[in-house]
Symmetry: C2
Subunit: 330 residues, 2 copies
């Protein structure tokens, strides 16, 4: 089943069920007005949503309308929790190596994870607004899962049952603001403006054999202005599964329904797979040439992130955003 949120008068959008081919949808606001409302009582509404999805898939439903991802917000236009792990340790190791630091051994067992801002989440085609190019604008292509209520102390095995939906993410980052914020120890704040999400949130069964062991085993393709930056496989070199990331977060507190858990920037050890962020490519350039050659993003650049099924069809729809100078709203 594929879900999305249509923009409307309400800040939280209107829940719709989308067909597998991303061509048609049916409104399901009578089942649950918003995706958050659906997640709040998932066990009750899931069968009804699945029935709507099956009807849409099998018949030429009279209620079906033409799907346009541009009319959608993020599946959750705002969320009560956006946590982002850093599960691809190759990425962590590389970035540290470039500044002459080693990765502590504890990072192999104790995942890096930060609490992200979730009051505004961008849709897949929304402009990405930034104040200043000098901040070092960068993408971070990721996979994320969305949960129902996760009890305090949930172990990784038990966490599997709480993964209800899967999405793609662009965790926009301001590289030149990160070092000073990390040095303070309090996490990312100014250096991580609003994060963007694919229009489609898919249930794990939509990924068929590609979703297992809490990892999504398909390439994640990132492009800048039409050129491929990387296509690493999200199931390869992921040091912590989503189940382990959820267990880490739930160690001392429960996680509310609608918690979004990110994988961190997808990165493979195989250099032929390319990168999911410019920081990593620049690090490789520093290691190879002594200095970075690829600049960070400029106003006007377009960033596209997509995951294709083996059949070649787009699973979540593409994130396709333009980097835009923020105008003063004041």
């Amino acid at each position: 089943m594929k879900l999305a949120s249509l923009r409307g008068a309400h800040r939280d959008g209107h829940l719709i069920v989308v067909d597998r081919a991303l061509e048609r949808y049916v409104p399901v606001h009578k089942i649950a007005p918003t995706l958050q409302a659906a997640l709040d009582r998932w066990d009750e509404v899931e069968p009804q949503l699945r029935a709507a999805a099956e009807e849409l898939e099998s018949a030429d439903s009279v209620h079906a309308r033409r799907f346009d991802a541009r009319a959608c917000s993020a599946p959750l236009p705002r969320a009560y929790q956006w946590l982002d792990g850093s599960a691809y340790l190759h990425h962590v190791e590389l970035v540290r190596r470039a500044r002459g630091a080693q990765m502590p051994a504890s990072f192999l067992t104790d995942p890096l994870m930060y609490q992200g801002g979730s009051d505004t989440l961008l849709g897949a085609h929304d402009d990405a607004l930034f104040v200043n190019e000098e901040h070092g604008i960068d993408l971070e292509a990721e996979v994320a899962v969305i949960t129902d209520d996760v009890p305090l102390g949930t172990a990784s095995l038990a966490a599997a049952a709480h993964v209800k939906l899967i999405v793609l993410v662009n965790d926009w980052s301001l590289r030149n603001l990160i070092p000073a914020e990390l040095a303070k120890g309090f996490g990312f704040l100014q250096s991580k403006p609003a994060t963007a999400f694919s229009a489609i949130a898919a249930t794990p069964d939509e990924l068929a054999g590609a979703w297992h062991d809490g990892k999504l085993h398909l390439p994640l393709v990132s492009q800048i202005n039409g050129e491929v930056l990387g296509r690493p496989n999200a199931g390869v070199d992921m040091g912590f599964s989503f189940y382990e990331l959820l267990a880490h977060a739930a160690r001392t507190r429960k996680l509310g329904a609608g918690t979004i858990m990110g994988s961190g920037t997808v990165a493979n050890r195989d250099p032929a797979r390319g990168c999911s962020c410019l920081a990593e490519r620049r690090t490789l350039e520093v290691l190879e040439y002594g200095s970075a050659r690829t600049p960070f993003l400029k106003f006007g650049d377009r960033v596209r992130i997509e995951m294709l099924a083996e059949s070649g069809s787009s699973i979540f729809g593409a994130l396709d955003q333009q980097v835009v100078r923020a105008r003063a709203e004041l």
Copy 2:
């Protein structure tokens, strides 16, 4: 005007208007079902809510019911954003001095601030659940403000207009988990379980002369098992006003309606005012005696946080919580 959220079938509670004396309330769900809904369109609903408050105050309204803070959740039982500054630099300096570290000069101009978990916010009388006493359970008594939409790039002068409500906070902390998390640089995650809030969220005018320059100039009283731990004045030694904290957060992104901004642990330089957390008292003991004498909290302990008007009446109602061992929910 004083607002609160009555627990009910809905996760986000039911908005009520409470009288100044905290004795009576009227439901206002016809004006806005929840506090978040009110903040989403504050300019439109504020006059109606104020009219209900005035009627409650002036007359023996037939709709008025007896107010019981125990029937209330946090004003926002879950929020889209909970940011916490660390504006009382004396607190920051002390904690660092105890471990032989100096406070960087940049801390005087660049506030510490972290993104807190906001998917579950505790009510003023909710049990505070923790897994293990060995984690070093501690209170942090704070003041916080709640905003409407704050545009990207809002300067501190302009931020004043966005402060709609004021609340008290207990930012529960697990001291023994903090050093390892701070060392990772990614902020607090396991070390900051659910935060608790006063039942009452008051508009700034309720504080009369005590609210000015983006600071709340009244003592914040913290007690453990009936003994006073401290009564520092929240308006004294606050290195950054709430307006400055909001401007810091809004430098690279807008802040959504319902953003909660905390002051950090209230602390005065005058030692006679006591402390708002045990970490600070223990630091003073280390500096004076060479080792800490006061233990962290134990299961069964009660923590009370309150702010009284000059008349002696409780402005926000007390936070009065018991420290309780979390039972496995699994």
